[in-house]
């Protein structure tokens, strides 16, 4: 019987984990090991993927992958929420009575002094901040460094490492690594994190662990400890554990692991100071973990233990030459890690001996190599948790999430609610909150421009210079700045959705639909971020584990209308469509999505043949978004937008004004038709005639839009001088054709640069050409059909 056949609400024991390669390793790393109990919680509204409960947390898995996991048919039973495990007694007293823990001033009490060898004064102490996805790592990083990085309630918000000094410790540098589940090279993030620790050799590791999900989190801890680098463990979300009646005996954890363990609450900044003291101490005194060996001599005759230690002796010299910690090298070799195998450069006879040892272990243990290692780690964790952890009753957060999920991921409610939520976000942004704030700001800018203009008249300022300030700067930059409220409002809603944990559900709900297009459910997140800005959207695609999915997602993200295009839509919608403005806006967004879908289908059938990788993802509990985090994000977005307005858009506006005010003899022209700009743009203007945009000023504006999309509006304002002139130069149909072209044509230079970084020059060039062609065809069709209908 396979896991796919297990009904909702039923539990069973995993018998065999099928599949192959890195995917199978990922299953095992996530805790899907033979012997573990797994429960099917629900199916996504479209019937696929399924949500499982394992080790007390929720995991998503496609039915096609669930089919690869065999369960013991006799073990199938109704799921019962057993509540917390019975509290173990120590010396006849419950665990809660043993709460003493080394605090400040007690450094060293639980520190390994075996090879203490302090670094010279003034040495830079570098730390790697490592942990599972969505365990509060970036929150802790912000607390440690005082940085304002964006934190999200979606696995994989940190897509690359970033560093900063710990507050109050100038001689330190902590690097926030992407969230990972294991040190197996399954995703790019895992490779980045592993390479950082192995190659850049930080003086210490701060391993952050989600205490509410300690079993799965400790799996990474054990692998990090195998790297034999000084390490401190931060038990995050301890407030949540205690609040739900749970308890963790920190002293026992420290003794068992041989590293300092500090309970913290990163979001409340509790215990962080103590954590820093311990981290600095272990790094300075080079106190490596007290143990790196977790195999049990007694377990199944010590099969895994003997195998690992045998291999360790065998490869000792090679591991030392390659600079890879020996225990880590041995366990990865057993798991079949090809990168480590290559780095060790084993001679054929050595590789043969290793293989023989592993085969022997597989026979004795009754499990294959990967499963045996995963089982060894989880067995150690289980013993440790039985002794030191009182699991809380079902947490309030989890209970609340379950209730919310009944509605938000319900079979009949999920998709209508998603459409409703996104519709509401756009309606509120473009028609209510954002629009109201924008009108206010535009009023202030106009009033200021009027006042400045009056003073210029009074002071008898040269009319050309007046035009430069009033038409170019106030008209151009001012019109772009007035869109700050819209952008901030849109980001406010998007960050609320992400922080709350809803985005992860969207990925879960949409997976089956996206899979039909050859994408994974996880692709929805980069694409949704793309509605804000294409650049972070492209980078967020790094969380996708497969190269194929990543490439496809990156090439499709620019079809999602980014917020920089909003000023263009807003400008034309208010001029030509008035009370139907929001319908035009929504139709543009929908069109972008539809073109993206068609393109995806086209790619799936041509350059990206094949199937998307499995959808194995954790569903985090819903959380109330932190006001500080949201405000930081809004401030960042507003600041970034204003920076663009006063740098690139400011300069572009002046250049456009200069080109349209002067001719080739640098004489002020009487009419723009004889300007330098008219001559240049006139060359490409014929291309836009089928779009109903014969005026050279439109092609000019579209060219400047390549620098920054907002420039389209500022250029048009400068070139036409007034809104009435724009209205006179085009019809409603050609205005919509222009909007469609703006929606679909090449993304801005920054986005193209980020695609070039991710995929190379060839793909970036392909994307620019492809999108320009698609945009031209769609806009020409709109103009043709529109002219026939209206």
């Amino acid at each position: 019987m396979t896991l796919k056949e297990l009904a909702i609400g039923k539990s069973a024991t995993v018998a065999i984990v099928g599949g192959s390669g890195s995917l199978r390793q990922h299953f095992l790393d996530m805790g899907l090991i033979p012997g573990v109990e797994v429960t099917v919680m629900k199916l996504a509204p479209l019937g696929d993927p399924m949500e499982l409960m394992i080790h007390g947390y929720e995991l998503t898995l496609r039915l096609a992958d669930a089919e690869k996991i065999e369960i013991d048919a006799e073990s199938v039973h109704e799921y019962v929420n057993k509540g917390p495990a019975p509290e173990p007694l120590i010396d006849g007293l419950p665990l809660k009575n043993h709460t003493d823990h080394p605090g400040l001033g007690e450094d060293g009490r639980y520190h390994s002094k075996a090879d203490e060898n302090p670094l010279p004064e003034g040495t830079l102490l570098t730390f790697a901040l490592a942990g599972n996805q969505n365990c509060g790592k970036t929150t802790l990083f912000n607390q440690l460094t005082g940085a304002n990085r964006h934190v999200g309630n979606f696995p994989g918000v940190t897509v690359d490492r970033i560093s900063g000094a710990i507050k109050g410790y100038p001689g330190t540098e902590v690097t926030d690594l992407p969230g990972i589940y294991s040190l197996s090279p399954y995703t790019n993030e895992e490779v980045v994190s592993r390479q950082f620790i192995l190659n850049e050799k930080p003086t210490g590791i701060i391993n952050i662990v989600d205490a509410t999900n300690i079993e799965r989190n400790l799996y990474l801890t054990m692998q990090l400890m195998e790297l034999d680098v000084p390490m401190v463990l931060a038990l995050n979300m301890m407030d949540e554990v205690r609040g739900n009646g749970g308890h963790i005996r920190v002293n026992d954890l420290e003794e068992a692991l041989g590293i300092p363990v500090v309970p913290i609450s990163a979001s409340k900044n509790e215990g962080v100071a103590e954590l820093v003291t311990h981290a600095v101490h272990i790094a300075k005194y080079r106190e490596r973990p007290g143990r790196t060996d977790f195999c049990d001599k007694e377990d199944h005759g010590g099969a895994v233990h003997r195998c690992l230690h045998g291999i360790m002796h065998l490869i000792e010299d090679k591991a030392s030459e390659a600079g890879i910690p020996i225990r880590f090298a041995a366990s990865k070799l057993v798991e079949g890690d090809s990168l480590i195998k290559k780095a060790l450069k084993l001679a054929p006879d050595e590789a043969g001996m290793v293989e023989t040892i592993i085969k022997r272990m597989e026979k004795e243990r009754g499990l294959d190599r990967q499963a045996a290692i995963a089982d060894m780690r989880f067995a150690f964790i289980k013993k440790l948790c039985d002794k030191a952890v009182v699991k809380p009753a079902e947490s309030k957060e989890h209970e609340r999430s379950q209730k919310i999920d009944r509605l938000l991921t319900g079979k009949y409610t999920a998709i209508p609610i998603f459409v409703l939520i996104m519709g509401l976000v756009f309606y509120l942004t473009f028609n209510v909150v954002g629009a109201w704030l924008q009108d206010g700001l535009q009023f202030l800018i106009d009033a200021l421009a009027g006042a400045v203009s009056a003073h210029f008249e009074k002071w008898n300022v040269n009319s050309t210079v007046q035009s430069l300030v009033i038409d170019a700067i106030f008209g151009g930059v001012g019109s772009v700045v007035s869109f700050v409220p819209i952008i901030v409002t849109l980001f406010f809603f998007l960050s609320m959705l992400e922080d709350s944990g809803y985005m992860a559900r969207v990925a879960f709900v949409m997976d089956k639909l996206l899979r039909k297009l050859g994408l994974s459910g996880r692709s929805i997140v980069p694409m949704l971020i793309g509605f804000g800005c294409t650049v972070p959207g492209v980078m967020a695609a790094r969380t996708l584990p497969s190269e194929r999915d990543r490439k496809m997602t990156i090439l499709l993200t620019p079809f999602m209308s980014c917020s920089a295009k909003l000023p263009i839509y807003g400008f034309f919608a208010s001029l030509f469509f008035e009370d139907k403005a929001w319908i035009v806006m929504v139709s543009l967004y929908v069109l972008g999505i539809l073109v993206g879908i068609v393109t995806a289908y086209l790619f799936k059938k041509t350059i990206f043949k094949g199937e998307p990788v499995p959808f194995v993802m954790e569903l985090p509990n819903y959380r109330i978004p932190g006001a500080k985090n949201v405000l930081h994000l809004l401030w960042d977005k507003a600041r970034d937008f204003l920076q663009r307005a006063f740098t690139i858009i400011f300069v572009a506006t002046i250049v456009v004004w200069l080109l349209q005010t002067f001719d080739f003899t640098l004489t002020v022209v009487d009419s723009p038709e004889s300007s330098i700009l008219a001559s240049i743009s006139g060359l490409i203007a014929p291309l836009f005639i089928p779009l109903g945009l014969s005026d050279y000023r439109f092609s000019t504006a579209l060219i400047t839009g390549f620098l920054a999309k907002e420039s389209v509006v500022s250029t048009l304002t400068v070139l036409f001088g007034s809104e009435a002139s724009v209205q006179a130069a085009m019809t409603g149909v050609s205005a919509f054709a222009l909007l469609v072209f703006c929606l679909l044509y090449t993304p801005c230079v920054a986005a193209v640069a980020s695609v070039k970084r991710e995929l190379g020059k060839k793909y970036a060039l392909f994307m620019v050409m492809f999108q320009c062609v698609v945009a031209w065809i769609c806009a020409a069709l709109v103009n043709l059909l529109g002219s026939m209908i209206f």
Partner: protein, 49 residues
């Protein structure tokens, strides 16, 4: 050209020059940043890796 014109022109040219300098400086560092953040955003971090 009268004095107010010169002052207004200077008030435009100077910040424009600074903006150009800022853009060139960031470009020289190899930054293709989306936001002209000066190098501390995630995009810059990746690009400068």
């Amino acid at each position: 050209m009268n004095l107010p014109t010169v002052i207004v022109l200077a008030a435009v040219v100077l910040p424009a020059g600074l903006a150009v300098f800022y853009l060139i400086k960031n470009r020289k560092k190899g930054k293709s940043c989306c936001d002209g953040c000066g190098g501390d955003c995630m995009g810059c971090n990746i690009n400068n890796k």
